[in-house]
């Protein structure tokens, strides 16, 4: 179901939603970029062309999540329940690549097979959230979603989506959840707008200029010196993994009787350091290779698709501009 909606009407709806929902949206922070925030003023919602630095992932896999704890007692210990956050939540402005990132994360933390590992906090975060996506209008030069079965206007993983048509948004409701939030918006769509939307979609898709042909399997390149060469400049930092909408590795940390699940990443030397002192991925070569293999090989073998959605974040923010699309495409597989 689609309808043409005035931008002010959407803001009014958000204002209203805030009464009984947590509302999250991209917010512009002067000189620093765009960041997802829990908002308390509807006018702070930013639905412009700039991308959020951090992907929406952090609302589902919190960077430092309190997963269990124990009470402080004399001579005994008892588990301390983690306060549950069950308020209904609506997240606006989620881009197609980020939404698809969630679909991929579902395969790990909320698989269809009930016998598979079910991550309760991830599942709770998913089920209490309604995702109102925003189709991209100005892809960045680092975006390459189109090469990875995505597109700047795709809607997988969204409950509803907004298309910016200048003065208005065209709202498309995709699921029951989406309807429950945006169903009350007044408006219809006429044939002319419908046509304009299709034309705009085609046009935007063509704006994604970066293309990559990742090999089906990277197996044959595993032992190649190529991985040493491409990782020479890597700094072993956490930028590419923390900002990736699909990276999901973590470390368990204990602080003041709390157990926290904190982001961790394969680029850090300590990530694979064992207590014995042995490190199976001792150099940047093994660590960076792992990242590329996880994205473009292992995950595909296990789950049928790449673990990269082509959002371009790791290219945009890598302090030394390592380009994973070039690296994957250039891997020597013969």
């Amino acid at each position: 179901m689609k309808k043409t909606v005035k931008k002010e009407a959407l803001i009014a709806l958000i204002e209203n939603l805030m009464k009984d929902h947590e509302v999250v949206s991209p917010v512009e922070t002067a000189g620093k970029g765009v960041f997802y925030r829990k908002i308390d003023k509807a006018k702070d919602v930013y639905l412009g062309p700039a991308f959020a630095v951090e992907p929406v992932k952090k609302f589902f896999l919190h960077p430092s999540e309190w997963i269990c704890g124990c009470n402080k007692e004399e001579g005994t210990a008892s588990p301390c329940p983690v306060p549950a956050d069950d308020k209904k939540r609506v997240i606006f402005g989620v881009r197609p690549c980020e939404a698809r990132g969630l679909v991929l994360l579902d395969k790990i933390f909320a698989p269809d097979d009930p016998a598979g590992y079910q991550d309760t906090s991830y599942i709770d975060n998913r089920s209490r959230s309604v995702i109102v996506g925003l189709a991209c209008s100005v892809p960045d030069r680092t975006c390459f979603c189109v090469s990875l079965d995505g597109s700047p206007v795709e809607t997988r993983g969204m409950d509803a989506v907004l298309f910016d048509m200048g003065d208005n948004f065209i709202v498309e409701i995709l699921t029951e959840k989406g309807k429950s939030i945006l169903g009350s918006l007044p408006g219809t769509i006429d044939a002319g707008s419908e046509k304009a939307l299709e034309a705009a979609k085609e046009k935007t898709k063509k704006l994604v200029v970066k293309t990559v042909k990742a090999p089906d399997s990277l197996d044959a390149s595993f032992k190649s010196d190529y991985w040493k060469k491409v990782s020479l400049s890597c700094l072993s930092c956490g930028v590419c993994t923390y900002l990736c909408p699909t990276c999901h590795c973590f470390d368990l940390v204990e602080e003041e009787r709390k157990k926290l699940r904190c982001y961790d990443g394969c680029a850090f030397p300590d990530f694979t350091l064992e207590t014995s002192g042995e490190n199976p991925r001792p150099t940047k070569k093994e660590r960076y290779r792992q990242r590329v293999f996880h994205k473009f090989d292992y995950f595909k073998k296990n789950f049928g698709e790449n673990l990269c959605v082509g959002c371009g974040r790791c290219i945009r923010f890598c302090p030394v501009k390592i380009d994973i699309s070039e690296v994957a495409a250039g891997a020597p597989i013969k």
Partner: protein, 278 residues
């Protein structure tokens, strides 16, 4: 300039005077540059030099122990090399420093107040044509941002840094990109004991950024790389510049100006104006 850089690199590699030359090459986007690690004379033509050569290549030098390395060094990169030499992290005889004179304000904001646009240390200096050699930046501008911060009330400053640090994602890119951050086990990575929270909480983020700033007092050469690398735009240079200013005012110490100088953290003066140390 680039021809001279390539020529020198070719010469060094061909004569096996170095095993590798670290410089800059064009990235896939056709505009930016990326660090280049060149180990054969045939490949030197991929070297480039322009205002996109932001990286401080001194950061890579410690990764090749025992190897002879040629490195393209701007003024700020060379200051970092000086500090690393002072701190016994590099062997001078294993380095061939190709100093490049860069044009003031060409590369980034930091350049406007660069104290020394010419390498403080080098084996050959490649000059930019038509530029007055070694013109320093404007000393007054150097601390304008720090002074503006100093002029504010303490609570205001706290609020400001709270706001900034609340965005820190603890990716440690600031540390990894910094030539001076080479501790084999960073305090942030220690677990037994853990010195401060690993969580991305305001508390842990404050502890991280403040600890790092203090460990760079008298060592930071203001190459600006940490601030550039920070994905969430925290003005890390303001912190470092404040400590740089203190070191200058209190001890007349400037990081990276002389290999012979005793590192600030390693010096003790019995005439220290403060008596806490006695």
């Amino acid at each position: 300039m680039i021809e001279e850089i390539r020529q020198k690199a070719k010469e060094l590699l061909a004569a096996s005077k170095v095993d590798m030359v670290i410089g800059y090459r064009r990235s896939g986007d056709g505009v930016s540059t990326v660090p280049a690690f060149i180990d054969s004379a045939q490949d030197v033509d991929s070297l480039v030099w322009d205002q996109n050569c932001v990286y401080n290549l001194a950061n890579y030098l410690r990764e090749f122990p025992g190897k002879k390395i040629g490195v393209v060094a701007k003024g700020c990169d060379a200051r970092a090399i000086v500090v690393l030499l002072q701190e016994n992290q590099l062997e001078r005889e294993n380095l061939f420093i190709i100093g490049v004179e860069c044009g003031v304000t060409d590369i980034s904001e930091k350049c406007a107040a660069c104290p020394r646009t010419v390498s403080a240390i080098c084996d050959i200096l490649i000059k930019e044509k038509g530029r007055k050699s070694g013109a320093p930046g404007n000393e007054k501008d150097a601390y304008a941002a720090v002074e503006a911060l100093e002029a504010r009330r303490a609570e205001e400053r706290l609020g400001l840094w709270r706001e900034e640090f609340s965005r820190c994602i603890r990716c440690y890119a600031c540390r990894q990109v910094c030539p001076m951050c080479y501790c084999p086990k960073c305090v942030a990575d220690q677990t037994m004991p853990a010195w401060f929270s690993k969580a991305t909480s305001l508390e842990g983020n404050f502890a991280w950024n403040v600890t790092r700033a203090f460990h760079l007092a008298g060592r930071c050469v203001d190459c600006g790389e940490c601030e550039r690398a920070c994905p969430v735009g925290i003005p890390l240079r303001d912190l470092n510049k404040k400590l740089e200013k203190e070191a200058k005012e209190l001890y007349k110490y400037e990081a990276g100006s002389s290999v012979e100088a005793k590192p600030l953290f390693a010096s003790y003066d019995k005439d220290d104006p403060k008596d806490f140390i006695k």
